[in-house]
């Protein structure tokens, strides 16, 4: 795709002097829509030489380090703390594009929430045979023990992160994260760092603010509590400092002004949840929990869980505590359900989906399975209930042995796998090994749902730091960028 900027690529100036577009990909800087603010951003960074730019990168790293903005990697010894690699060059999104994304995300969340209400309620969508009953109810994230329980306000998905990619000029949904999505603290800290290092560009270009995320989240959660509660207490439940996202738990607890608690600090008595304090037990009305479903209550789910609160589900069932996100959301973000989300949107909202998604084939379907097994090298194979980039096989890059092993796994458990054609993620100029080069990115915006969905005007752009890599996840070597949603012209 040629654009207004193509000519300037060949001229190449300053920081982008030796920048070469990656063939077959869409570049977010140099092939994006004509936009005066985007042009200003490019001109601003062009004025830097590599010699001037590199020390800023080092400074950003030091700032992250000083502030202790880390994540833990389970694979490394004892969950080693690592700085989340951050690339200083932002990822811009023009306003008109953003409006479409915003509407599309709100629509998607409303539909998925309605789906969850229905699955844990009357299951009309299954009775009407819009979705296969067996496919839905066999999802690992479906919790039959919660059948019949409706959370306050009917809201299941208080916080979500929907992964988007750009293949060509349009955004499409890659994946839904509805259980315990993480990353928003890096969004906020990334912005803080870029403001500190590049204040001048913010004076020239309107970038939508994101600072009010914690306040919006708190407001949304409190809006769901019954009015009769006097002085309701919200706590943030963390699995503890060895959890990969502990920094985020700490950050959000501080910014929301709520206690950060661990499971042993909560107790359930007479069906109500209490916080153990030095001045006695204090009633807890709402828990923003960052612990996975299966670890939450050892008396109901995993009996060997050391992270749970015995009796918590009973309190939840009685309506004495609100859990955000609600339990059982995994059935809606199961990758085997993902191909059917457009039908879910049409069924519950009577609308066509605003945001397209990647064509996806379930290995559970015999005819699709046959096609996939015959052409494994043409697909990206994913396990339906894994996250963090784990279990993904990119057929094009896999060895024969890997393809063979994957084929066997699919035959053994077809329901557990989906296949998607390999999409060329868009690229963005990124500093790597002392050079500015194009690297693939995806984008995770965050949505808060209290009374109505609210979409954070920004999000986490994740970047695959290695050349030719498609894996952007932090635990697999990915990094992040600040996302600038540009204001209206």
């Amino acid at each position: 795709m040629t654009s207004f900027f193509t000519e300037q690529i060949h001229l190449g100036r300053g920081l982008f002097k030796d920048y070469e577009l990656q063939p077959g990909t869409f570049d977010e800087f140099f092939e994006a829509e004509e936009n005066i603010f985007l042009q200003k951003i490019i001109h601003y960074f062009e004025k830097y030489s590599l010699e001037r730019f590199m020390p800023l990168h080092e400074k950003a790293f030091q700032l992250f380090r000083q502030r202790g903005i880390t994540f833990n990697v389970y694979k490394e010894q004892c969950g080693q703390e690592k700085i989340f690699p951050f690339d200083l060059l932002p990822r811009p999104i023009v306003y008109d594009q953003w409006l479409t994304i915003q509407k599309g995300l709100a629509q998607r969340i409303l539909a998925l929430n309605a789906f969850l209400q229905d699955i844990y309620g009357e299951q009309k969508i299954l009775k009407d045979k819009v979705l296969d009953r067996e496919l839905v109810l066999s999802a690992k994230g479906y919790l039959p023990k919660l059948q019949g329980i409706t959370p306050p306000g009917g809201v299941y998905i208080h916080v979500s992160g929907i992964d988007l990619i750009r293949d060509g000029s349009s955004f499409a949904v890659l994946e839904d994260n509805l259980k315990v999505p993480s990353g928003v603290s890096y969004v906020l800290e990334n912005r803080r760092i870029t403001k500190q290092l590049f204040p001048e560009i913010f004076a020239q270009v309107p970038v939508l603010g994101i600072n009010d995320y914690p306040a919006q989240l708190k407001k949304a959660l409190y809006a769901l509590l019954p009015e009769s509660y006097e002085d309701p207490l919200l706590v943030l439940l963390t699995p503890g400092p060895y959890n990969s996202a502990y920094y985020e738990h700490l950050y959000l607890a501080k910014r929301m002004g709520c206690p950060l608690v661990r499971n042993q600090e909560l107790v359930v008595e007479n069906g109500k949840v209490y916080l153990k304090t030095l001045s006695g037990l204090k009633r807890v009305h709402m828990i923003y929990r960052r612990t996975d479903d299966e670890y939450l209550d050892p008396t109901v789910f995993k009996p060997d869980s050391c992270l749970g609160v015995p009796g918590l589900i009973d309190a939840y069932r009685r309506g004495n505590v609100v859990l955000a996100n609600a339990l059982g959301n995994g059935v809606a973000d199961d990758k085997a359900i993902y191909p059917f989300v457009p039908q879910i949107i049409r069924y519950f909202l009577g609308e066509d989906p605003i945001l397209p998604q990647i064509e996806t084939y379930s290995c559970a379907d015999p005819s699709s399975r046959e096609q996939i097994l015959a052409n494994l090298s043409s697909y990206v194979i994913k396990i339906v209930n894994q996250s963090g980039g784990n279990g993904i096989l990119i057929g094009e890059q896999a060895t024969r042995q890997q393809l063979k092993e994957m084929g066997e796994r699919i035959k053994a458990n077809p329901r557990d796998y989906i296949a998607q054609p390999l999409k060329q993620l868009s690229t963005c100029p990124t500093l790597h090994n002392g050079k500015i080069c194009p690297r693939r990115i995806d984008f995770r915006p965050f949505i808060i749902y209290g009374q109505t969905p609210w979409v954070l005007p920004g999000g986490l752009t994740r970047v695959a730091l290695l050349k030719d890599s498609y894996i952007v996840n932090s635990c697999q070597g990915g990094g992040s960028k600040d996302t600038w949603v540009l204001g209206p012209i």
Binding site: F202, L208, I210, N211, D212
Partner: protein, 309 residues
């Protein structure tokens, strides 16, 4: 207690506190204005109003269109502005120099370094350097206070220094609350959030406020700064602590009784937050002003009494 030292102790910390609040206001505004939001239209008004030198600014510059860079110069460097950062730290240092035998060497070094830093920093600090500039200033003040609390003997000078700091805070917060109707001309929630967030940052109270209150409601915000007994920036806390420090002074029996402080805290407990949201003068505002004026007189009288003790 030597009266000269008592006076300089009190004023050194008043200037430091005033400088700290101004530096934090400038830093918070610098960060906040980079977002495309409704604060952009009001930042000049907020900066000049909270600095309490708007009239001086208009007199000095007589401009039709107020330029933010001019305001920043006025608030950071202008020597003719007694409440610019430069003037405030110069005054703080002058007072510190005159009581050097009483303050710790570490305290003196921090205040002196601050003064020297402002003296040698270019007066046209680029946007690029502003964050580090404010961070350095705030770092120095906080280190000075750290040394103050950590190492200074708990004698009368200590209590007077703390009275100076607390009193300055009380007056700055009171002025901020009185100015709210000017800043919040519309009830649009986004604008309200931006402004209240900025003011909380300015008074280093964001985290404390968030622990106290679920959302950014106007009345809750005012109530927090008026009546919360635990927040170091609330009027209740400040006045209670001033009264305690008075009682700790070894010469307190010879000073005018600070009953006016107790009277004010008592009155404060019953002030309606809505009072400060009313753009018009009302009885409660008038009474608060009179009470605070009386506290000011008491303090001034006490300092002069100390000269003859």
């Amino acid at each position: 207690m030597i009266p000269r030292i008592a006076d300089h102790s009190f004023w050194m910390f008043r200037y430091l506190e005033r400088g700290e609040i101004l530096a934090r206001l400038l830093s918070a505004t610098h960060l906040a204005e980079m977002d495309f939001n409704s604060l952009s239209e009001r930042k000049e008004l907020i900066l000049l109003t909270l600095s309490q030198e708007k009239n001086l600014f208009l007199k000095l510059y007589n401009v039709k269109a107020i330029d933010i860079e001019l305001i920043l110069y006025f608030l950071i460097w202008q020597e003719l502005n007694p409440n610019s950062l430069s003037s405030l730290f110069k005054s703080a240092r002058q007072n510190a120099q005159l009581i050097r035998e009483v303050i710790s060497e570490q305290m003196w070094r921090e205040i002196n370094a601050l003064y020297l830093y402002l003296g040698k920093s270019p007066q046209d600090t680029s946007m690029h350097e502003r964050h580090d500039f404010y961070a350095y200033i705030l770092g120095k003040i906080l280190r000075c206070k750290g040394h103050f609390y950590n190492s200074l003997h708990r004698d009368d000078y200590f209590y007077l220094m703390e009275i100076g700091s607390l009193y300055e805070r009380v007056m700055q917060v009171y002025h901020m609350l009185n100015s709210l109707p000017l800043f919040l001309t519309d009830k649009e929630s986004e604008a309200q959030f931006e402004i209240l967030n900025l003011l909380l940052e300015c008074f280093a109270s964001t985290e404390n406020y968030l622990k106290w209150e679920a959302g950014f409601q106007l009345e809750a915000f005012v109530e927090f700064f008026l009546q919360d007994k635990s927040s170091p920036y609330s009027l209740q806390y400040g006045l209670n602590k001033i009264a305690q420090n008075f009682a700790s002074l070894s010469t307190h029996s010879k000073l005018p009784k600070p009953d006016i402080i107790f009277e004010t805290t008592e009155y404060l407990s019953n002030v309606l937050p809505a009072t400060f949201l009313d753009p018009n003068e009302n009885e409660q505002k008038q009474t608060m002003r009179e009470l605070l004026n009386q506290i000011n007189s008491t303090l001034q009288t006490s300092l002069s009494e100390l000269s003859v003790v």
